[in-house]
């Protein structure tokens, strides 16, 4: 009985704010109505910013996963001595606030610092001036999102690599005639899939909800639209929050569905992993 009461209290604690937001969103002062949703769907900024945020999040997710997964595998297999450095790098974004990183990136790519030009082997001046100017572009924002989400990408992938016997599985594949890439794609990747999905989900949601960097770079993304709307129309902002929540919820369901369809099926510990992500 006590357990049920505790469970009910926890559910109330989680759902009450959401319920209140939903009710606030559909109440227009005179009663209940869906006018705020009609306003949202007819607002061009809503679809434009949502699409842009979606594109940025997708690009960040793909870039982060494509960069980090083979790197973590390589470190696990060939450079175990580099693991402490990777662990440190993966923690840096936690220690450095997004605002500091934003200013840093703007400073680096918009100044004409000779020392930086030399240290970056000419890369910074190349990327700071036309035709490859990346200052305040969505491309630079994607790169920044990849760095911000580094802890969420590296950790789950590294944990998954440690959970399977990566070295022995790789050697077994080699002994059967498989090369590095084939081993990575057909043997290692399917076995660390839950970790990769976790990494992708966390990167995607981080990028979808990121405000500070987008604001500093002056790029009009969905969180900025949400903030601007909140300042002008609180009911509309509440409805937007509900829509945003539904979007995330659908993403999580999609991920769970993907994992369930894996060959061999999701095992117990992997299901727990998914619950932990949620």
């Amino acid at each position: 009985m006590t357990n049920r009461i505790v469970l009910a209290l926890v559910i109330l604690y989680l759902l009450l704010p959401l319920g209140a937001t939903l009710v606030f969103g559909i109440s227009n002062g005179n009663g209940i109505g869906f006018s705020s949703y009609q306003e949202i769907f007819s607002d061009h900024d809503f679809s434009a910013t949502l699409l842009l945020s979606f594109e940025l999040a997708l690009a960040s997710t793909v870039l982060a996963v494509v960069l980090i997964t083979p790197t973590a595998y390589w470190v696990q297999l060939r450079l175990p001595q580099a693991r402490p450095m990777m662990d440190f790098l993966a923690l840096v974004p936690f220690a450095v606030p997004a605002i500091v990183m934003g200013f840093g990136l703007i400073e680096v790519y918009s100044g004409n610092n000779t020392l930086l030009s030399i240290l970056s082997l000419g890369l910074v001046p190349l990327l700071s001036n036309p035709p490859f100017n990346v200052v305040n572009t969505p491309q630079l924002l994607v790169c920044a999102y990849v760095i911000v989400s580094l802890p969420f990408v590296y950790r789950p992938i590294d944990n998954s690599l440690r959970a399977i016997n990566t070295k022995v599985l790789t050697e077994a594949a080699y002994s059967l005639g498989s090369g590095w890439w084939r081993t990575f794609l057909t043997v290692v990747l399917p076995n660390i899939w839950p970790g990769v999905i976790s990494a992708a989900l966390l990167t995607f949601s981080t990028a979808m909800g990121e405000f500070t960097l987008a604001e500093l770079f002056g790029i009009y993304t969905f969180p900025i639209y949400l903030n601007v709307t909140g300042q002008n129309n609180a009911h509309k902002a509440a409805s937007l929050t509900i829509l945003s929540f539904l979007l995330t919820f659908l993403c999580v369901l999609g991920i769970i569905f993907l994992l369930r369809r894996r060959p061999g099926g999701a095992k117990q510990d992997e299901r727990l992993d998914i619950v932990a992500i949620k």
Binding site: A173, L176, V187, G264
Partner: protein, 377 residues
């Protein structure tokens, strides 16, 4: 030239020499076992043959081909690992056909060979099972089938039975031997289990500290060990250190015991030797019994002691007999004859000269033997 030949293979890990100038030849169809304690370099040697490690010096020849620097994926070797290393997301069939699909064999050939291999390892009904649905023994059988599927020139087995329980271990080792003989497959097997090595191998290389101590047939390794290490590592043995007094007559003095050993004309008076006696070569009598004429002959060896421990091991019973100042002597008796003897009983241990294996000791070995005496006797 031998089918597989290792010439002067050396491997360092930092300051540590894991494998030290090893020369080894394996004939086609031979089952060779690398036997040694943990950290002796046997697995490193196997990994160099497989291509997972590159030697710092030396050459590996396979069928007259220098494969020393060839990557593992390009070597015609099949490997079976201690931890099975089956791909968890693939069924048994998919695991077996993995190597064949890389070779782009036609699908019907792959399926036919897969069915044959499943039958060979006795798991025809488990093709659709995932590794986590199979027992340890079944997983290792599938791993064996997977390694054989690519038709390797050499099968490498790295302690494949270590993770299994005792009964499965014996069954599976016999299966491995049967399959190896049936396919006339050249195989190199790594183990630290001397009983396993003696049971399964055509030849055994006893390895210690990165060097081969003795390379020989199992019977020879057991009956005529060439080094102190080989004698102590393979089988249980009693050791008595002594000095040769009459080499031609076969007499040496080991502390207070005058031992009759086989004549050693090549040794000199004063040479230090280690006399090794296997427990099954020792008989036990009550100390007050009249020693029969044969045992009482001048050429027999007799030591009195008190039974400290009596261990029933099924067909025979092992006695640990305290002989002198904390030294114990081990004797095995058929269990039916062992009933008359009990702990704390004073007994007479007897063994003929023919039960003694004698190894000359150099100064270094005297010291090493002295340091580890407690463990060995």
């Amino acid at each position: 030239m031998a089918f597989l030949k290792l010439e002067g293979i050396t491997k360092y890990f930092g300051q540590v020499t894991a494998v030290d100038h090893i020369n080894l030849s394996v004939e086609r169809g031979e089952f060779l076992t690398l036997l040694g304690p943990s950290g002796c370099g046997k697995t490193t040697l196997l990994r160099m043959v497989a291509g997972f490690e590159v030697p710092n010096a030396g050459t590996i020849w396979l069928d007259d081909d220098d494969i020393t620097h060839r990557p593992a994926s390009k070597r015609p070797m099949g490997m079976v690992f201690q931890s099975y290393a089956l791909f968890p997301h693939m069924t048994a069939e998919q695991n077996i056909t993995f190597g064949m699909s890389i070779k782009r064999l036609p699908k019907d050939v792959m399926q036919q060979r897969c069915a044959e291999l499943l039958k060979l390892v006795g798991l025809s009904d488990k093709g659709r099972s995932y590794p986590h649905q199979l027992s340890g023994g079944q997983q290792q059988r599938i791993a064996l089938a997977r390694a054989l599927a690519v038709e390797p020139k050499v099968l490498l087995l790295d302690e494949p039975l270590s993770a299994l329980d005792a009964k499965v271990r014996v069954t599976l080792r016999n299966e491995i031997r049967r399959i190896q003989q049936q396919l006339r497959m050249t195989a190199i097997y790594v183990t630290h289990d001397q009983e396993e090595a003696l049971a399964i191998s055509d030849r055994i290389a006893v390895i210690a500290k990165g060097k081969i101590e003795q390379l020989d047939y199992p019977e020879e390794i057991y009956s005529n060990p060439r080094t102190v290490f080989a004698a102590t590592f393979v089988g249980t043995s009693n050791h008595l250190q002594g000095v040769v007094t009459f080499p031609a007559e076969g007499i040496c003095q080991a502390e207070q015991y005058t031992l009759h050993i086989p004549p050693m004309p090549h040794l000199h008076t004063g040479d230090r030797v280690l006399v090794i006696v296997r427990p099954e070569g020792v008989t036990i009598q009550e100390a007050n019994e009249t020693i029969d004429s044969e045992a009482n002959s001048a050429t027999g060896n007799h030591i009195t002691g008190v039974i400290e421990l009596r261990t029933f091991l099924g067909p025979f019973t092992r006695f640990h007999v305290s002989i002198d100042e904390g030294k114990t002597f081990t004797a095995d008796l058929p269990s039916q004859q062992a009933r008359d003897y009990y702990v704390a009983q004073k007994v007479l241990l007897s063994f003929p000269p023919s039960a003694c294996q004698v190894l000359p000791l150099d100064a270094r070995e005297v010291e090493a033997e002295h340091l580890t005496e407690g463990e060995k006797v």
